[in-house]
Subunit: 154 residues, 2 copies
Amino acid sequence: MHVSARSDYALRAMLSVAAAPEHLAKAADLAADQAIPLSFLQGILLDLRRAGLLHSQRGVDGGYTLARPSTAISVGDVLRAVGGTLTTVRGLPAESATYHGVAARLGGVWLAVNGAIEAIVDRTSLADLLTGRSVPAPPAGTTPPVPMTKQEME
Amino acid sequence: MHVSARSDYALRAMLSVAAAPEHLAKAADLAADQAIPLSFLQGILLDLRRAGLLHSQRGVDGGYTLARPSTAISVGDVLRAVGGTLTTVRGLPAESATYHGVAARLGGVWLAVNGAIEAIVDRTSLADLLTGRSVPAPPAGTTPPVPMTKQEME
DNA sequence: CACTGTTCCTATCAATCAAGTAGGGAAAAC
DNA sequence: GTTTTCCCTACTTGATTGATAGGAACAGTG
């Protein structure tokens, strides 16, 4: 339920690389463009390179380039690269959370939440966010995304 | 994307209260039932009482009772009582996250995620989790919950 | 009413992890 | 060899998690 600063910065940096001329950008330019602390950003860019989402080039005229076209990099790819598992419960992946007794069915809620999040972030690419072609729907949940019987309030 | 220990413990404690005989349970019993550190749980129970979800009674035969029927308390109610805003970005509510330049549309992703989460947690009550009547659907996202054009991978 | 046992309530302190800072080292081009 | 840029490690700060101790309110009993 919380997006860390690392994840937020990583996405903004990837978008900035995708929008850069020649798709090449220096770390300092990315930091200035999106107001991200430079030294902190460097560690994030390292993770993105290790995950195979970025290529790096040292020296003059160096910088970072996308390893794949922006249409083939999803928001979920970036989030998993810097944050590991998408949904965690008490620091552990949502699948490995075990419950006992009356809380037995609580794990199913976290799995449903994880599935709902994946459905959004894995279907939204960097190109979608740049072109605005596939902007997510407004948050007003008029149609329930998960088949679920409506509870009766009183 | 992360469920804190506080939120997890709060839900398990509420379920344990709802399942207790007479719907009354002592803090020590809740801690033992769900393997929660007692002193940490006491702070959580205080938040739940301040939020109007629990009533407390001191002295012999004291303990905690639900302030409303378990059918009228949703998972979202409990999460908001102990964690404040449901979806946060860098510690701030998802709505107040502002983006500039190429990242302008990123806020829409967080709002869509927040809406998807709300659609699940606000429609699932404590009673649903106890009876298993409305268990969330499996996480395999075969049907996209948010209307969104499918991106072309390559 | 005083006493006693139970329970909730609060304040304080150590351990751990995210967030941000600082500085030196290594590759590429001129 | 100098400059530019990426690469890596160590450090500081603050929030979260968890443990400990003591105080305050309630109910029953003599």
